[in-house]
């Protein structure tokens, strides 16, 4: 699990934008792109380096109010860890 005080930030190589053809957010990086679903886009959108992991989870809970809190936290943590393994998110260790 990512530490509560970590401040995840989109890596400089990644660019988040809307794909007008699908109306979905895409995360672009050299030679590749990932299409994000609504939750994924909301998570990545909060990775500005300003918000702590704890705040990010709190905000998402307000936005997507269903489900239990610890499951959401685990989901966000796993998602960000996967992106970090691709070098797309930094700052997972406080």
């Amino acid at each position: 699990m990512i530490a509560a005080s970590a401040r995840p930030k989109l890596a400089s190589k990644a660019k988040l934008r809307l794909d007008p053809k699908t109306q979905k957010q895409v995360l672009l990086y050299p030679e590749k792109g990932l299409e994000l679903n609504a939750t994924g886009a909301a998570i990545v959108g909060l990775c500005t380096g300003e918000h702590s992991f704890e705040e990010i989870v709190l905000r998402l809970r307000q936005q997507f109010s269903q489900g239990d809190a610890s499951a959401l936290e685990a989901h966000v943590s796993a998602f960000l860890t996967t992106l970090a393994e691709r070098g797309l998110i930094e700052g997972l260790t406080p």
């Binding site: 794909d19 053809k21 672009l28 990086y29 050299p30 792109g33 393994e85 070098g87």
Partner: protein, 368 residues
């Protein structure tokens, strides 16, 4: 009956010029590049960028030749950035100075891919044909200093494939974000030089193992890509993700192609962006339609369960090796022409100590 065109492209490959200070003997430019001169002007390229974005492109790769030899590169990057495209510069680094890189940064460039012919200075200079090594390393440092993601691209062949560990070490030292260890594709110049460039199976396996270990060790720090050589695979590559499915390439003269070497195929007419819009070309060009989908496929592809994964392989390779672009890619072990690839492998194993002539791009032969 041909397949319908996908409703969009993902990536525009903008080959801005065939001019280049290097002479690499595996260059992906066409063999007759010196006869292709009249380059598109700035206004044409700006329009191509607009049309590519309207057609759904999310990324643009500015490549060549050496794209820095165009003095309108900053203007093109700026337009691409205004269109919110992810812009990558694919460069030899040779004509690049820090000021220009800074100008490209403020024009909105997102990423830089730098070629490095060999992690060893002498070998790098020999293959590229000029004393470029130190400057390339300097460019790599500027790229990182100015906050760009850096991809190092090393084309692998018999002379440098034993240097994969050294290439990884150099990528770590330079702080590269990505290392592409790309085995040579034996087309165009590389096919002319295949006997000198094709590694042995033993070399390949050892290199692949080193790359695999480095990939695991550097996960999350450096993305390591080891692009397998199809000459040593049982199945062909899914060339360009399928003919005219995701990529659209525009040559310096304005021809729209589905891949770098498609213009080498006979009996196909490729439209020019000066005459038709990208959207029209993508949807209606006969050449784009020629190998789209599965209707063109011969056996063994037609009934193969992998046909939706590799799309019959590379059309340019089928043509280069058999003279018929519509046959199964001979690198597939199911191809009736697979013996051509096996013979090339055997020759590579037998010939490693022999003196082999390299034919350098655009110039003279040199014995090594």
């Amino acid at each position: 009956m041909s397949a319908q065109a996908p409703d969009r492209i993902y990536t525009l490959i903008a080959e801005l010029t065939y001019r280049c200070p290097l002479r690499c003997p595996y260059c992906s430019n066409p063999l007759d590049f010196q006869e292709r001169r009249d380059e598109l002007d700035t206004a044409d390229w700006l329009r191509v960028l607009d049309e590519a974005s309207a057609l759904g492109a999310l990324q643009v790769n500015f490549t060549g030749g050496e794209p820095l030899l165009r003095d309108d590169l900053e203007a093109l990057v700026r337009r691409a950035s205004e269109l919110d495209l992810y812009t990558s510069l694919i460069t030899s680094g040779v004509p690049l100075e820090r000021d220009r890189l800074l100008a490209l940064k403020s024009s909105g460039l997102n990423a830089v891919q730098l070629s490095l012919q060999d992690p060893r200075k002498a070998a790098c200079n020999r293959i590229s044909g000029m004393d470029a090594y130190e400057h390339k390393l300097q460019v790599a440092r500027w790229v990182k200093e100015l906050g760009f993601p850096l991809t190092l691209n090393v084309v692998l062949h018999r002379e440098n494939i034993d240097q994969v560990a050294e290439a990884v070490a150099l990528a770590e030292t330079l702080g590269a974000d990505r290392l592409e260890l790309a085995n040579t594709q034996y087309l165009g110049w590389a096919l002319v030089n295949r006997n000198a460039l094709l590694p042995t199976q033993a070399q390949l396996e050892s290199a692949r193992e080193i790359a695999r270990a480095a990939k695991a060790r550097l996960k999350g720090r450096i993305e390591i890509l080891f692009v397998l050589p199809d000459y040593y695979s049982d199945r062909p590559k899914a060339c360009m993700g399928g003919w005219a499915q995701r990529y659209l390439l525009v040559t310096p003269q304005g021809e729209a192609l589905p891949c770098h070497l498609a213009a080498s195929l006979p009996n196909l007419h490729f439209d020019n962006v000066k005459a038709r819009s990208l959207a029209e070309i993508w949807q209606y060009s006969a050449a784009f339609q020629a190998f789209r989908g599965e209707a063109w496929m011969p056996e063994p592809c037609k009934s193969c369960e992998r046909r939706e994964q590799d799309f019959g392989g590379c059309r340019c390779q089928a043509f280069a090796l058999t003279g018929d672009a519509s046959l199964t890619d001979p690198t597939c072990s199911l191809s009736p022409n697979h013996n051509l690839v096996k013979a090339a492998r055997l020759r590579a194993t037998a010939d490693t100590s022999a003196l082999v002539e390299l034919r350098y791009r655009g110039g003279r032969s040199v014995s090594r």
